[in-house]
């Protein structure tokens, strides 16, 4: 008997009589002030949030923080003049170690936890939003959902290869519970709420 058969047989034998699967109930949610609440939580978990009119303003804010000598990558066509837009092949992923800033578009944000949802098409290469020293995300202000169940209702049966909720910059508090931003991933995360 293979281990697969052995495990499945033992589990089938020992699992109790079928119990019902509950419906996920509609949870209480506040649909007012979504961008305000998203901003408040995102800032509390270490992100910076800017409200902007267009991509021109995104580039303008970022120019104040990054020099022309910095390596900036984005798959967003509107930022072509500002960032290196060449979509990199996965085989070249190690070369991304020198990226200073990556800018990606997010599908939507979640007000209750300040997270944004990204899938790999928006990253180009999966490791990019992790290996970059700094990360910026552009989020349409109308795309902020109240709760995580709303987020999964939106994701539905999407057939992504890889997707991630990102909530603020990489962080750790492993040394005596002192919060340090920039553990292994980006040191800063900036969210642009775009109209």
């Amino acid at each position: 008997m293979t281990s697969r058969e052995k495990i499945l047989r033992a589990v089938a034998q020992n699992q109790p009589a079928l119990l019902p699967l509950p419906e996920v109930p509609p949870f209480q949610q506040d649909t007012s002030e979504l961008s305000g609440r998203f901003t408040e939580v995102a800032v509390a978990i270490g992100a910076r949030v800017f409200r902007v009119m267009d991509y021109g303003e995104v580039a303008q804010v970022l120019r104040q923080n990054f020099l022309p000598s910095h390596r900036i990558i984005s798959a967003i066509p509107e930022l072509a003049g500002f960032a290196e837009a060449t979509p990199l092949q996965d085989a070249h992923r190690h070369q991304l170690a020198t990226v200073d800033l990556a800018v990606a578009a997010a599908h939507f944000g979640v007000a209750e936890n300040g997270a944004v949802w990204l899938t790999e098409e928006q990253m180009g290469v999966r490791v990019l939003p992790f290996i970059t020293q700094h990360l910026a995300v552009v989020l349409p202000v109308k795309q902020i959902l109240p709760l995580m169940p709303d987020a999964y209702a939106r994701i539905g049966q999407a057939a992504y290869g890889y997707g991630v909720f990102m909530a603020g910059p990489s962080k750790t508090a492993d040394i005596e519970q002192s919060l340090v931003l920039g553990a292994h991933g980006p040191r800063t995360m900036t969210v642009f709420l775009i109209d």
């Binding site: 699967l21 996965d90 890889y162």
Partner: protein
């Protein structure tokens, strides 16, 4: 104190931990601080209790249908291009991981947090087979350099002071002697581990949730270390216990609301990564591990322990854990839930753990999936006594306690008499008859119990 050849039990190891009182107080307060952050996060959600109940029921259903969900997950994961392996026990898990590495000619691997690999002693096994493993979670890297196991499932080096970590970094990573600034130490680890991520061709991660419906799995970290490892490597191996399954993707919307609020009080971890397909040209493996879980599933009284989502809240709130430290449990998962899981794996070795509890019930109150933790600890005590794994003295104490607890009237009286008695002669209570309290000062007894207080107050209220 100890008989020759007998390994030291929880209470003996707790005594060792208690020799340094300021450190115990600090450990206690740090964990209590995290417990308070959890409370704040939980109270901010109006539906918290509904969330817990829903999560608990989803897990109960999943366990009752687990053989079907495992097969559904396997089928969908395979359709996504993931290779699925089945490991009956720790040994087989380790062999599978080793064979994947061998196939790729890899002798160095980076690993993010996985309590399952601690349970299986994977690092030791691989080291014996010439494979170097570097743990990439900062806390785990610290305990790995110190050659210690993690002392907490979420906060692996919560028992270490920054000065000690500074010394470890000075010795292994070349920081200045005496440097203990968390900012500087974290930056040093970042540089050191970045080099590791960029040079490893294989990465192993744990799994927080696996979704039967979609064949994907979710890994939660704050540091981004699981992603750095998995996305840079050619081969990604994800190890998971078979109890990590959930039926549908939408259920993540329930569990991800509970997990991190319960763990650290954050609204969500920085990264909740959904792995559904390998990158083109690369490999993704999932190892489904039983290692005693199917046995626990058959123990009606302890089955619910398999609902655990490893948030650590029961440890942070536990007065015994906070004041005895994670290492005193000698088990990959410490604290209240570890004390239920460990006897299933080896009842004789872990017979002491169900006694490492005051049965105060705080663990049960905070558990996001509503596991009846303290009831199960009490039931384990009876099982291990019946099976003869407990020494005579503890068994006698147990019997007296069982008699008292089985009769509400005696319990009420015993409580009242106990409180009066303790206020007069605290040192007498602190005798060797009660194994947990040996050599400890009893806490100040309250002047009235909740029951008395409630009766008095309700009377006032009714009048």
């Amino acid at each position: 104190m100890m008989g020759a050849g007998k390994t030291r039990d929880h209470s003996a190891l707790a005594d060792v931990f208690n020799q340094d009182e300021p450190r115990v107080n600090w450990h206690d307060e740090t964990l209590w601080f995290i417990r308070q952050k959890r409370d704040k996060a939980a109270f901010a959600i109006p539906d918290w209790e509904l969330l817990r109940e829903t999560a608990s029921q989803i897990k109960a259903h999943t366990l009752s249908h687990l053989s079907q969900y495992l097969q559904e997950f396997e089928k969908n994961a395979q359709a996504n291009g993931i290779t699925v392996h089945w490991a009956a026990d720790a040994q087989e898990h380790n062999e599978i991981v080793f064979s994947i590495l061998q196939k790729h000619g890899v002798d160095r691997m980076v690993k993010s947090k996985s309590m399952l690999t601690e349970e299986c002693h994977l690092n030791d096994y691989l080291a014996r087979h010439g494979i170097e493993v570097i743990d990439s979670d900062l806390g785990e890297r610290i305990v790995q350099l110190a050659q210690e196991p993690p002392s907490h499932i979420v906060l692996p080096c919560i028992h270490k002071k920054k000065e000690e970590i500074g010394e470890i970094f000075h010795e292994h990573l070349g920081t200045e002697a005496g440097m203990s600034d968390p900012q500087v130490l974290t930056e040093t680890a970042r540089q050191h581990l970045r080099e590791t991520f960029l040079t490893r061709r294989a990465a192993l991660t744990g799994v927080n949730f696996a979704v039967a419906e979609t064949g994907e799995f979710v890994v939660c970290t704050n540091e981004g270390n699981a992603d750095m490892g998995a996305h840079l490597a050619d081969v990604h191996i994800a190890s998971m216990g078979i109890e990590k399954l959930i039926p549908r993707r939408e259920h993540l919307g329930v569990f991800l609301r509970l997990l991190t609020r319960s763990a650290t009080g954050q609204p969500i971890t920085t990264y909740s990564s959904h792995f559904r397909k390998p990158r083109p040209g690369h490999e993704m493996h999932v190892v489904l591990v039983d290692n005693g879980r199917s046995v626990q599933l058959g123990r009606e009284d302890f089955r619910n322990s398999l609902k655990c989502i490893r948030c650590g809240a029961c440890m942070n709130t536990c007065p015994v854990y906070r004041r005895s430290g994670g290492h005193s449990y000698k088990s990959a998962v410490a604290g209240p839930i570890g004390s239920i899981l460990a006897p299933n794996l080896d009842m004789k070795k872990h017979a002491d753990l169900p006694f490492a509890s005051t049965l105060c019930g705080s663990c049960t109150n905070v558990c996001p999936v509503k596991i009846d933790i303290h009831d199960q600890l009490y039931k384990w005590r009876q099982v291990v006594v019946q099976e003869g794994h407990v020494d005579a003295k503890k068994a006698a104490g147990m019997k007296a306690m069982a008699a008292v607890l089985s009769s509400p009237a005696t319990f009420k009286l015993a409580g009242k008499a106990g409180r009066l008695f303790m206020r007069r002669v605290p040192l007498l209570v602190n005798n060797s008859f009660n194994p947990w309290y040996k050599q400890r000062e009893m806490p100040q007894p309250p002047n009235e119990s909740f029951r008395e207080w409630y009766r008095k107050n309700r009377k006032q209220h009714d009048q």
